[in-house]
Each structure stands twice: as structure tokens, then as C-alpha cells.
């Protein structure tokens, strides 16, 4: 893998919703390239005939009865954490 360009880092930052500083862009360009360079060792591993393992327990479709239950977190308790709220709703900055 070649080194990440400045544009690559900016694109990743944008996808990750991070407004990086100039200094961070430079720093992450080097650091992220090094990390990606390290993990590239896997490309040489022979995995012929093997399937990927996405989860370890083998559990499938864990469900419970569809019924109303009491839960300790209340709507008020959850809303109390909001940085801004109005009329019992989360308040956000303008969208457009």
C-alpha cells in the first residue's frame, strides 16, 4: 500500500465527521499509512478454503417476547442528557 495522500485523509475525516486541523491531517497521513502498512502482512496469509468469522458465539436470531416492559431509563432521564432541548424534544442546529 502506498502512503495515504492528504486528500485520502481529508476524505476519511469527512466520512468520519471529523474536522481535522492542518497539523492533524499531516500527522494522520503518516500514522495511518504506517498502521495500514503493518496490517498488510495479512495479504500473504494463505486462507484458501476458509470462511470469514464475523461473530464468535454462533447465536442466531436471539429474540424475546414482544411485550411492553418497565425499563429503568425514563424518557425524562434520557432527555436530561441532551445538550439542547425544547418542548420535550432534542433540539439541533439548523439542517439547511
Amino acid at each position: 500500500m502506498s502512503k495515504l495522500s492528504c486528500e485520502d485523509v481529508l476524505k476519511l475525516a469527512r466520512l468520519s465527521r471529523l474536522k481535522l486541523s492542518e497539523e492533524e491531517i499531516k500527522r494522520f497521513q503518516t500514522e495511518l499509512s504506517e498502521i495500514l502498512g503493518y496490517v498488510e502482512v495479512l495479504s500473504k496469509a494463505d486462507t484458501t478454503g476458509l470462511e470469514p468469522t464475523y461473530q464468535l458465539t454462533g447465536l442466531k436470531n436471539v429474540t424475546r417476547k414482544d411485550e411492553i416492559r418497565e425499563y429503568e431509563a425514563s424518557p425524562e432521564g434520557l432527555l436530561a442528557q441532551a445538550p439542547a432541548k425544547q418542548d420535550n424534544q432534542f433540539k439541533v442546529k439548523r439542517v439547511l
Binding site: 471529523l18 481535522l20 495511518l32 486462507t47 468469522t53 447465536l59 425514563s74 439542547a84 439541533v92 442546529k93
Partner: protein, 472 residues
């Protein structure tokens, strides 16, 4: 250094009225103050702990049994949601956060009479191996203040070793319970993946995250596991438990123990190697059949981990958007800028690195080469473990390649920092239970011996660990 009795004895003394819960809580709170220069603690839950202690003492005086952990004080890593205080995950973005509900593990411990007295420091969001990635401060090693305690559960490990509490809770995603236990000098247990509910714990990498105890003895770790293990409706990844984890058979005679060749290889500090070899000799003398085994794909586990973990981190940390809870940038013009500024200002460098690496390896065009390839090599590692456990009862090796390093010595090179996890990540990638117990010391600094067992072999790992602990 710890002056606490075994946990079962502490609880028995409270149940019998010989000691009161409030005395134990005051002892822990005084120890927090006494050891505050180690920076192990983020917040103290003094009022909450005292109120709970008085309730427990009232139960005892009215002839009731408060439970198997009656009056036992403990500390939770600050990524466990606990009511009555803040849960920060040692991050600026969660600095104002007060949990509106509690984690299942905390509820189970408190239902048995345990009392959470404080929240411990960690690498922010548990991303790290030294607590140096905490957005607040660095915890110091109990044996040498110029060194790190390990991480990410460094505050939990230091609290136990300093004797502030008899046990602490930690989380282990790539070694974050075992490695600080090794660096600080206590027992750290990582259960089989899925055995302990993670409901109410700040998620890091969901396919490898587990919860476990840090204690001064294997017996204490087994008792805590026995209380927190089991299926939970609030965590659909939990598995069924064994009836008991406390019936430890401390006999090594005839046990088939294999030393992992790749863990005794280059990169290990010579003195760590010497200490581990001497522990292996003792295990042989105790009657175990010790052989060497090669698991050739194990050295790839670190690369597998540093693809899977950031991928899952990038997804799990997407929820911190500055809108519903946590830090929100005050000067944003619109919603999009509010997301970008809140996350930019609220996340530390390591969280940003992992979010971006994760975003990269999951993006179209790179997904197959990185993410899918890593998950396939994961299968290869699992198969090697399965083959090893078909022939052997336990695998052993060191927990970390070095003793605790100097504060600041690895912070400028993230990849160098990742290398600390090289011997612990495999058990996370595969899900196997694993423990670190103090083997001995190297020039005054602890060395940890790691024991890995087959999937769901938690009782076997704990039994063997107890037997080995007694040889030291």
C-alpha cells in the same frame, strides 16, 4: 500491597456483624485519598456508597443476609454505566454524561451486596495499553510512579494493587484486563466471549469486548465471575453459563499444558523470558505434562485485531454526535458542522485514528482486502486454537513481552504502542478465556503469566490458575 482479606471472608464478616459495610466503605474512601497521587480514579461515589453501606448494615441488623458480597467495596472502570455519578470513558466527549440506567454487571454485583465506591481511569474509550490515552490524566504504576500501570484498565489494576479496594471491574477487548494486571501485579481475568453481559458498558469492538474482574487472588476472580456470568436479555450475545465457577480443583497432576512457542520468541525481554521459564519449571514439578506447541498464525493476530477493532470502533463511536448526550460544540453554525466540531473537539487522537482506520478498511474497494481478509485469518487462528485444545488442556505463555514501561516512552509512535497487545489479542480474536496471574518480579516490576483455555473452559482456566498461583 493490598491489606484486604479474601472477598468471601470480608462478606462473611459483614454478614456476621463483625464488621460493618460503612466501615469498609470509609476504609476504601480513605485509601482513595491516600493514594490520589497515582491518579487511578476519575470520580468518587462517596455519598452513593455511604448510603448503600447504611442500607446493607440495616439489613444485617434486622437479621437479613445482604448477599455473597455483603459490604464489599469495589471500583468500576469508568466505561461502566453507574447511576449517581458521571460515566466518562475517560473521554472529553462523554465528560458531562450521567448514566440514565446501569450496566447489568454493576446491578448483579450490587444485588449481592457489593458497593461501587469510585470509577477508575482508562485509556479513553479503552483504546490503549497504558492509560496514557486518557483524555484526563495518566495513571501511575503502583511499583514505580515513573512507569505506566498498563491499560486500558490501568486505573482498575492500580486500585487493586494499591489496596484501595478488594476488586475492580475492567473490560478486555485486546488485552485490557490482562496486560494491566501483568504490569501492575494482580490477577486479571478475561472470560469466554459472551459469558458476561455487556449491557450498559461503553462499546468498543463488539465482537471481542468482554467484561472481567481484577483481583488479588484467583479465588476472588472466580467468585466475581460466578456473580456476573450468565445470559442477559439486554445483551443478545450472551451465552449460557456453567453452574458454578467457584469450585476450583487446584491440582495440576496429569494436566496437559502447552507452552506457546510463538509467545516465547524474539521480542520478549530476556528477564521476562527467564521468569516465565522458571514458572514453567514449577508447573512441571507440580505434576503437569508440559510440552511446547506451535500456533503459526498467532503472530498475525495483532494485524487481524487492528483491522477488526477499528472497524467496529468506527461503527460504535458513530453514536457520539453531540446531539443527544455528551459534549456538543457550542459554536457550530449548522447540524453538519455540529457533528464535525463536536467529534473533532470531543475525541482524542487515538479515537480519531481508530475511527479513520475503521472507516478506511470498511469502505468499498478496501473491504475485501482488509476487513474480510482479517475475518478469514481470524478463522485460521480459531482453527489453530481448536486443534491445540484437542491435544492439550491449557496453553501458557507470558502476558506481555516487557515489564511496565516508562511513561511517555511510546506515546509518539502509535504502532509501537499497539505492539504491547501482541500476546493478548489472540484470545480476543478467538474468544477463548484467558487469565494473567503474577508470575514473579523482574527488578521490582511484576511479570504476568498468561493461561488460555478452550472456549467455555472458564472453570478449568481458573482451577489451573489457582494451582499455579499456589506454586509461586
Amino acid at each position: 500491597m493490598s491489606e484486604w482479606l479474601p472477598i468471601a471472608d470480608i462478606a462473611a464478616s459483614v454478614q456476621s456483624g463483625e464488621q460493618t459495610a460503612i466501615e469498609l466503605v470509609e476504609k476504601a474512601l480513605a485509601a482513595i485519598v491516600k493514594h490520589q497521587d497515582y491518579d487511578a480514579i476519575i470520580s468518587v461515589l462517596g455519598d452513593r456508597a455511604r448510603a448503600r453501606a447504611l442500607e446493607i448494615d440495616k439489613l444485617v441488623s434486622s437479621g437479613k443476609n445482604p448477599g455473597r458480597l455483603a459490604g464489599v467495596p469495589f471500583i468500576a472502570k469508568d466505561n461502566f454505566l453507574v447511576s449517581g455519578g458521571k460515566t466518562t470513558a475517560a473521554s472529553n466527549i462523554l465528560k458531562p454524561f450521567e448514566a440514565p440506567y446501569q450496566s447489568t454487571a454493576i446491578k448483579k454485583l450490587e444485588a449481592e451486596g457489593a458497593i461501587c465506591v469510585a470509577k477508575a481511569n482508562l485509556d479513553a474509550f479503552a483504546h490503549g495499553s497504558s492509560t496514557e490515552n486518557s483524555d484526563f490524566f495518566v495513571t501511575k504504576n503502583p511499583h514505580d510512579k515513573t512507569r505506566v500501570p498498563g491499560g486500558s484498565s490501568g486505573g482498575s489494576a492500580a486500585s487493586v494493587v494499591l489496596g484501595i479496594v478488594p476488586f475492580a471491574l475492567g473490560t478486555d477487548t485486546g488485552g485490557s484486563i490482562r496486560q494491566p494486571a501483568a504490569f501492575s501485579g494482580c490477577v486479571g481475568y478475561k472470560p469466554t466471549y459472551g459469558l458476561v453481559s455487556r449491557s450498559g458498558v461503553v462499546a468498543m469492538a463488539s465482537s471481542t469486548d468482554v467484561i472481567g474482574p481484577l483481583t488479588t487472588s484467583v479465588e476472588d476472580a472466580a467468585l466475581i465471575l460466578d456473580i456476573i456470568a450468565g445470559q442477559d436479555e439486554l445483551d443478545s450475545t450472551t451465552i449460557t453459563r456453567t453452574k458454578s465457577y467457584t469450585d476450583l480443583k487446584g491440582d495440576l497432576t496429569g494436566k496437559k499444558v502447552a507452552v506457546i512457542k510463538e509467545y516465547m520468541a524474539e521480542g520478549l525481554e530476556p528477564d521476562v523470558q527467564k521468569q516465565i521459564e522458571s514458572a514453567i519449571e514449577k508447573i512441571k514439578k507440580a505434576g503437569a505434562i508440559v510440552e511446547e506447541i506451535s500456533l503459526p498464525s498467532l503472530p498475525l493476530a495483532l494485524a487481524v485485531y487492528y483491522i477488526i477493532c477499528p472497524a467496529e470502533v468506527s461503527s460504535n463511536l458513530a453514536r457520539y454526535d453531540g446531539q443527544r448526550y455528551g459534549y456538543s460544540a457550542p459554536d457550530a453554525k449548522d447540524l453538519d458542522e455540529s457533528y464535525e466540531l463536536s467529534r473533532e473537539q470531543g475525541f482524542g487522537a487515538e479515537a480519531k485514528r481508530r475511527i479513520m482506520i475503521g472507516t478506511y478498511v470498511l469502505s468499498s474497494g478496501y473491504y475485501d482486502a482488509y476487513y474480510k481478509k482479517a475475518q478469514t485469518v481470524r478463522t485460521k487462528i480459531i482453527k489453530e486454537f481448536e486443534a491445540a485444545f484437542a491435544k492439550h488442556d491449557l496453553l501458557i505463555g507470558p502476558t506481555a513481552p516487557t515489564v511496565a514501561f516508562k511513561i511517555g516512552s511510546k506515546t509518539s509512535d502509535p504502532l509501537q504502542m499497539y505492539m504491547n497487545d501482541i500476546l493478548t489479542v489472540a484470545a480476543n480474536v478467538s474468544g477463548n478465556p484467558s487469565i494473567s496471574i503474577p508470575a514473579s518480579e523482574s527488578e521490582g516490576l511484576p511479570v504476568g503469566l498468561q493461561i488460555i483455555g478452550p472456549m467455555r473452559g472458564d472453570a478449568e482456566v481458573l482451577s489451573a490458575a489457582k494451582a499455579i498461583e499456589e506454586l509461586a
